[in-house]
Amino acid sequence: MRREPGPAVREAGATAREPGAPAREPGAPGREPRDGLSASRMTWSVGGRTIVDGVDCTAPVGALTGLVGPNGSGKSTLLRLLTGVLGADAGEVAFGGVDLLGLRRRERARQLAVVEQDTSAELPLTVRDAVLLGRIPHRSLLAGDSATDHAVADDALARTRMMAFADRALASLSGGERQRVHMARALAQQPRLLLLDEPTNHLDISAQLETVALLRELADEGVTVLAALHDLTLAASVCDHVVVLAGGRVVAAGPVEEVLVPEVLDEVYGIRCTVLTHPETGRPVLSFALA
């Protein structure tokens, strides 16, 4: 069943189209009419070590793009560079044809939401309060919660099935529930671009599936979703596109069927991989063994 576009895609095509912004004319060379996220030559080093080394990557509009790679391959760092939380040494990030890192922070936060890994609050907080934080970029810093803010937060709570927990203390929730709160907070930001760092980490299998189902749904509504994923099997089963990172460089990128193939996985992880086809969904199923 198709839904009306939810709040998460409001303004799609409305903002960030100021005159003078880089043109998104149809037929501009190398650009799809509905451009998503495209990063080029992203580089970041610390203490003489290059963590992210000239990465080019794209995440199309309305698709679920997975960012995979071994531990320490630079996935988290790349995400932090894309959000502007970390200042890149070099590189450009465009979203919808607009220079994302050139936007004012608040303007960027209205388009881009981030779900980080391992975020906790040290001070007591209710679930609803946590979700309402996502409204901060959308209102004056002096204003309180408007009726709209509450409506959007309620929506986000409902979509992540956390409404029943709204008045619970965040600290009293399980890891999976807390992860859903963070997703709800990101949804309350009504982003057109959603970046997630290992959103399924530490979740049990049903919570993992719920999380990716929600991401799938958001992508279908036209949100551009880029998620760093640890679990290759999960990535293969849900992602449209995959970017494989190793040693801070892109090893392969493209549609999941072309990228998550034995040769690439052997090169990156040094493992033997068999790709099966799921009898019902027709999606690739990966099976691994040590090389």
């Binding site: 932090r80 939401a113 959007v152």
Partner: protein
């Protein structure tokens, strides 16, 4: 309407893809012309959210009543009517209304007790309490450390060192200046140290403050040990524990103006502090410029704390525990927490000081002893009542 969306058990329902059929537009008017397709129409969960206005009005009323009552309490035998008559006389005269209203003045001695001793003291306590509670909230949120207080950056230790130096040298008149200078120098040292290590992260801030604190404390102890005797010893001890016993209208002006100017600015930073709830990068992702904001707020806290410490010494407890107590009552959202902490802190310190000057009358104890002795059990009670939240 989606049943799954309100599953109260949190157990995943079979059709995960049916999640969130909830943003069905309705024609509800709560967002007229708003950018949304329309607010959702699912039943709103009962809101236990505290409403700001009643809380703030209530706390303001309590503060006004506190001040009016506290000036009537004291060891001198003054009636409530006499006290208020003195206040009214000064106010009407100050406003040039004495011909119109015609309040009869008290005797010079009795009037002096009210107008020169009690009222400045009560108002100073209120300003100091308000400022410390505010600074406490800001420090705890900025460093994401529940144990943070306004003195975290070595401010009180720096101020103490300055104060003790002038007290030992017998230059008591310079005390506010020396204390403020000490506080500002300590802050500069702490931030300088944190900055030298790289970005000013919460952990670095805390640890640098600790280093500066310890150094100043050692120097203070050394000065006391080496040269303090008799009278200066008692004076020093009373200052170190925090006291508003010597408050004058000058103290009211220093603390009051600092709270009105810096405190108001801090009290308006609610949304910014909210954004820090999940840490720096989360704040950045919500559109806050983290480094600049942290600097601004830290400097604001330091200047305000420095001004307060210069008139009252290092009154403990208010800036550490009071924010937690208010949080347990109203939740962690700063837009209400900041002003409410300020109002509550003001009332709290006025009562604590009233106890300090009356319980063992004619002897006085430093108010810092009372704040801890009274506040700790109250806090324990709140902690117990709010244990589900903490």
């Amino acid at each position: 309407m989606p049943v799954a969306a309100r599953s109260s058990t949190g157990v995943p329902s079979a059709g995960a893809s049916s999640v969130g059929v909830s943003s069905v537009s309705s024609s509800s008017s709560s967002a007229p012309g708003g950018p949304l397709p329309g607010p959702s129409e699912h039943a709103h969960a009962p809101r236990s959210r505290p409403r700001p206005l009643p809380w703030l009005i209530g706390a303001t009323a309590v503060l006004v009543a506190t001040v009016l009552l506290a000036v009537t309490i004291g060891s001198a035998d003054l009636g409530v009517g006499e006290v208020w008559r003195s206040v009214a006389w000064h106010l009407t005269r100050g406003l040039g209304l004495d011909d119109v209203v015609g309040v009869e003045p008290l005797s010079v001695l009795r009037d002096g007790i009210v107008w020169q001793l009690r009222l400045p003291r009560v108002l100073t306590a209120a300003a100091v309490g308000a400022g410390l509670a505010l600074c406490g909230v800001v420090m705890q949120s900025l460093t994401r450390n529940p144990l943070a207080d306004p003195y975290l950056l070595g401010l009180s230790s720096g101020a103490s060192l300055g104060a003790v130096l002038v007290l030992v040298l017998g230059l008591g008149v310079l005390l506010p200046v020396a204390a403020f200078a000490g506080a500002v120098l300590a802050l500069a040292a702490a931030l300088g140290l944190a900055g030298a290590l790289g970005a000013i992260t919460p952990t670095r801030t805390v640890l640098s403050g600790l280093a500066v604190s310890q150094l100043c404390a050692a120097a203070t102890s050394f000065v006391i040990f080496w040269s303090a005797t008799g009278d200066s010893y008692r004076e020093i001890l009373s200052w170190l524990m925090g006291s508003v016993a010597g408050a004058t209208w000058g103290s009211v002006a220093i603390a009051g103006i600092a709270v009105l100017v810096l405190g108001s600015a801090l009290a308006l930073s609610g949304s910014v502090l909210d954004a820090f709830t999940f840490g720096d990068s989360s704040a950045a992702a919500l559109g806050i410029s983290v480094e600049r904001t942290r600097w601004l707020l830290l400097v604001g806290v330091a200047l305000l704390t420095g001004a307060l410490v210069s008139v009252s010494g290092a009154v403990g407890f208010v800036g550490l525990i009071l924010p937690h107590a208010v949080r347990l009552l109203t939740g962690a959202r700063h837009r209400l927490l900041l002003p409410l902490s300020a109002l509550t802190g003001a009332s709290f310190l006025v009562w604590a000081d009233t106890l300090a000057r009356t319980v063992f009358a004619p002897r006085e104890v430093p108010v810092g002893i009372i704040t801890a002795a009274v506040g700790a059990p109250v806090f324990a009670l709140l902690l117990w009542r709010g244990r589900r939240l903490a």
